[in-house]
């Protein structure tokens, strides 16, 4: 399963689901990390964590531990 953590910087991908029932899912989704949203990792921090994601004209940084909760649709479907 592909997650946001593994996404190569600069590549667009679509969110499939948020893999968590806990309140972290609510927090991520309220910022716009919802199924169907196109996202792109634009930058990694110098020490490799956190990473910055761009979507809808905003940039949000999150840790790998949270990026791991976001699964992506399989590559190839990207238009």
């Amino acid at each position: 399963m592909r997650t946001l953590e593994m996404l190569t910087p600069g590549i667009l991908a679509r969110i499939e689901a948020i893999q968590s029932d806990c309140d972290r899912a609510g927090r991520l989704s309220s910022l716009g990390f919802i199924p169907g949203q196109w996202v792109k990792v634009i930058r990694l921090a110098p020490l490799g964590d956190p990473l910055t994601v761009e979507f809808d004209g905003q940039e949000i940084s999150l840790r790998r531990s949270e990026a791991r909760l976001i699964t992506l649709e399989p590559a190839g479907g990207a238009g």
């Binding site: 927090r27 716009g32 930058r43 964590d49 910055t52 940039e59 840790r63």
Partner: protein, 745 residues
């Protein structure tokens, strides 16, 4: 008419209408708040939690309005207590007045995400008005927003504003007055059957479980937030959890995910609202991208970060010094001036000068550093750099429960823990903030420097040379942080039961800081420190003064004088000594005065206490004089030098470079016990003292500030915890080093 509206009619002469400012972080909410209220502001805590409640008066021709600035939030999720405040205010809970009007401050450059909170808050059924802020930035980003169309879709007025230059403020004020007279409400989204059914079931369940007054908006929070604070009165947690599970199963069986369904539905609603409202003229090469490429660069970004932090640190450490000296000199001057009026009553003179005035000076002396630090923090936050710095540093601190935003408080702690602890407010996550506050006092603040310099200069340097001495001083600065970070890890792993929030950072656009806001913030923090923590620091100061002054029996001075004359007579005729004492300015008289002061401190309550508890510090190699010095430095560690001066008959007017003090320390020998005749200050003792000072919370002002920022429980816990840790470390060092004979020279 919205069925959930509970608008209080505000009749003239009763309480003024309450207007709440709501919005995401970084939308310029505080700037608009400052514009609306000017300086007529108050800061207090919300009941039960240490979250700032900022409120102020807006004076218009139409009357007075009470404006409250709610903490910036991305959603109404009420998991942590800090977030709960927003829902509490909006729901009129905890005896708080329910707002008569909500003013949403939205960032026009990111309308979609900003509307999420609006869409959620529609459930509350409160009269609403929207301020579309940062319209200038949106235009620069190539966005064109049809505010009139948005207003028609939302059914509430939408006012375009630019907080930074005050554009649209008059329109906003007029709209507030109008909206209170003719309230408009947001449309609520249509929930699917599975959610409405879940809510009805939960509501009935919660009512039977004994929580009768829960509102519909709050039931939604219980449904979506897994562990919502609204279920606190419910005692049968398991039963409630079953109910929530049941409702979630209903949602799942409709093919939706309980974790994200709320956001999905709100965003779908927002998409339809925004159709044709926002027009983007294509991607514009924004300056932020090139700036980010530099500031977040692996090498340059890191170098710039350390450069910026160095500047902040230097300003606290070096630039604040002249201002702090000025405060100290001012305190001295006032003390001398006041002392002149009170010569007839020595107790009162000492209380006023050494207790009260010294305490006031002890409060004011922190102001330069607090003001400077908050100047930098405001500028760095307003420009958007704080988010970048946190991004760069997060990995370094994440492992032990802190986060990237802990860097500034911890670094400030190297100058002084007080502004550092206050700076932890920039950390949103309550758990990371708590840990950062508890760890900041471990950083080697500038008040620890004198004792290091005194002991290293007196014992290490003569023996091992300046090169080793320099390394020891350098090493001493890392003892605290070296203990603090693993301790933070242990605390987080095993003790802190507060839930951590995910570290999610919005990277805001770069903006020019607004001087008005910066000055306002400095003034706010300074005033708060003086009023809230200052009173406690003053009380500490007076208590310690009393312990060091009383009982102050006349017989102590007479006895000390007789003893002094006897000692002096061994060197020269008694008559010569007595003659010298006739002249109060003679060196002999000054030495007598120091001798009497030493006798008084030995006979004071604190001195007697020090002698009594010396056995406790004996395993660390401390004699009673060191013990009294350590005890008297609990209110402020830097007084150790002056106290040692008094104890060793040199008077309080010594500093860490004083050769007299250094000579006395080198010659000091045990006068009783098993080590009688041996030198007191051996290398193990010297290091035991330094490590004790490195780890101990010997600062009443920090205790007071921690109490104000967290609560007294944490302040007490951290005081005793740090003291115990310091004692254990000092004993361990002394006992280990004693086994290595070469160190016992």
């Amino acid at each position: 008419m919205n069925p959930f509206s509970a608008r209080r009619s505000s009749v003239a002469g009763t309480k003024p209408c309450l207007v709440a400012l709501v919005g995401n972080p970084n939308t310029g909410k505080s700037t608009i708040f400052n514009r609306l209220t000017g300086l007529r502001q108050r800061i207090a805590n919300y009941p039960g939690v240490t979250v700032d409640r900022k409120s102020g008066r807006m004076r218009l021709e139409a009357g007075d309005f009470e404006i409250v600035d709610l903490p910036g939030t991305y959603s109404l999720t009420a998991v942590s207590h800090d977030e709960r405040v927003v829902m509490d205010v909006l729901g009129g809970r905890r005896n708080m007045q329910r707002p008569d009007l909500l003013v949403f401050v939205l960032d026009a450059t990111n309308l979609k995400r900003n509307l999420f909170l609006v869409s959620q808050a529609a459930e509350l059924g409160l009269p609403t008005l929207i301020a579309l802020n940062q319209c200038d930035a949106a235009r620069r980003n190539g966005l064109r927003i049809d505010a009139a169309r948005l207003s028609r879709r939302l059914g509430v007025p939408v006012i375009e504003t630019v907080g930074s230059n005050g554009l649209g403020m008059d329109e906003l004020k007029a709209a507030i007055v109008e909206a209170l007279e003719a309230p408009c409400f947001l449309p609520r989204i249509a929930w699917p059957e599975c959610i409405t059914a879940g809510c009805v079931m939960l509501r009935d369940g919660i009512c039977t479980l004994g929580c009768k007054d829960i509102s519909d908006a709050e039931v939604l929070r219980v449904l979506f937030d897994r562990e919502s604070v609204y279920t606190e009165p419910v005692l049968e947690k398991l039963r409630l959890r079953d109910l929530i599970h049941e409702a979630h199963d209903g949602i799942r069986s409709s093919g939706l995910s309980p974790g994200s369904v709320e956001a999905v539905l709100h965003y779908r609603h927002i998409e339809t609202l925004l159709e044709g409202v926002v027009e983007s003229s294509g991607p514009i090469a924004r300056t932020r991208e090139s700036v980010d490429r530099l500031l977040l660069h692996r090498v340059w970004g890191t170098l710039i970060f350390f450069g910026v932090m160095y500047a902040v640190f230097q300003s606290l450490y070096t630039w604040a010094a002249p201002m702090m000296d000025l405060v100290s000199a001012g305190t001295d001057w006032v003390q001398t001036w006041v002392a002149g009026f009170l010569t007839g009553t020595p107790v009162l003179q000492s209380l006023v000068c050494d207790g009260i005035l010294a305490g006031v000076g002890g409060v004011l002396v922190f102001l330069p550093q607090i003001l400077l630090l908050f100047f930098f923090i405001s500028v760095l936050e307003d420009t958007g750099y704080v988010a970048r710095a946190a991004f760069l540093m997060d990995k370094l601190f994440g492992w032990c429960g802190l986060n990237g935003k802990s860097f500034v408080p911890l670094l400030s702690g190297y100058a002084c823990a007080i502004p550092g602890v206050m700076a932890a407010r920039t950390i949103e996550d309550p758990k990371a903030r708590l840990t950062t506050i508890l760890m900041t006092p471990f950083m080697s603040c500038s008040a620890r420097l004198p004792i290091y310099i005194l002991l290293i200069g007196t014992f290490v340097e003569p023996l091992h040379g300046p090169y080793v001495a320099g390394w020891v001083l350098f090493f001493m600065h890392f003892v605290g942080v070296g203990v603090a970070l693993p301790l933070a890890w242990v605390l987080n792993r095993f003790f802190l039961r507060v839930k951590p929030l995910p570290f999610i950072l919005e990277m805001p656009d770069y903006r020019l800081p607004i001087l008005r806001n910066v000055v306002h913030r400095m003034w706010e923090r300074g005033r708060e420190f003086v009023l809230r923590a200052g009173t406690v620091i003053l009380a500490f100061s007076v208590i310690i003064w009393a312990l060091l002054y009383f009982p102050h029996e006349e017989s102590v001075a007479t006895g000390a004088r007789a003893e002094f004359v006897q000692i002096q007579s061994a060197e020269r005729p008694e008559a010569a000594v007595l003659a010298a004492l006739q002249n109060p300015e003679s060196p002999t008289s000054l030495r007598l005065a120091n001798y009497v002061d030493a006798a008084y401190i030995e006979q004071s309550f604190l001195g007697r206490f020090g002698k009594t508890v010396q056995p406790v510090f004996d395993p660390a190699g401390f004699d009673w004089k060191i013990t009294v010095g350590v005890l008297s430095s609990f209110p402020a560690r830097e007084v150790i030098i002056a106290t040692m001066g008094i104890i060793y008959n040199l008077g309080s007017d010594v500093d860490e470079g004083s050769t007299d003090l250094r000579t006395v320390l080198q010659k000091e020998k045990w006068t009783s016990g098993s080590r009688i005749g041996q030198p007191v200050y051996t290398m193990p003792v010297v290091f035991a003292i330094m490590v004790f000072f490195a780890l101990c919370m010997q600062c009443g002002a920090t205790v007071a500030v921690v109490a104000k920022e967290l609560n007294w429980w944490w302040a007490t816990a951290s005081f005793f915890g740090m003291t115990a840790l310091a004692w254990v470390a000092a004993v361990a060092i002394y006992q280990t080093a004693r086994m290595i004979p070469i160190l016992m020279s």
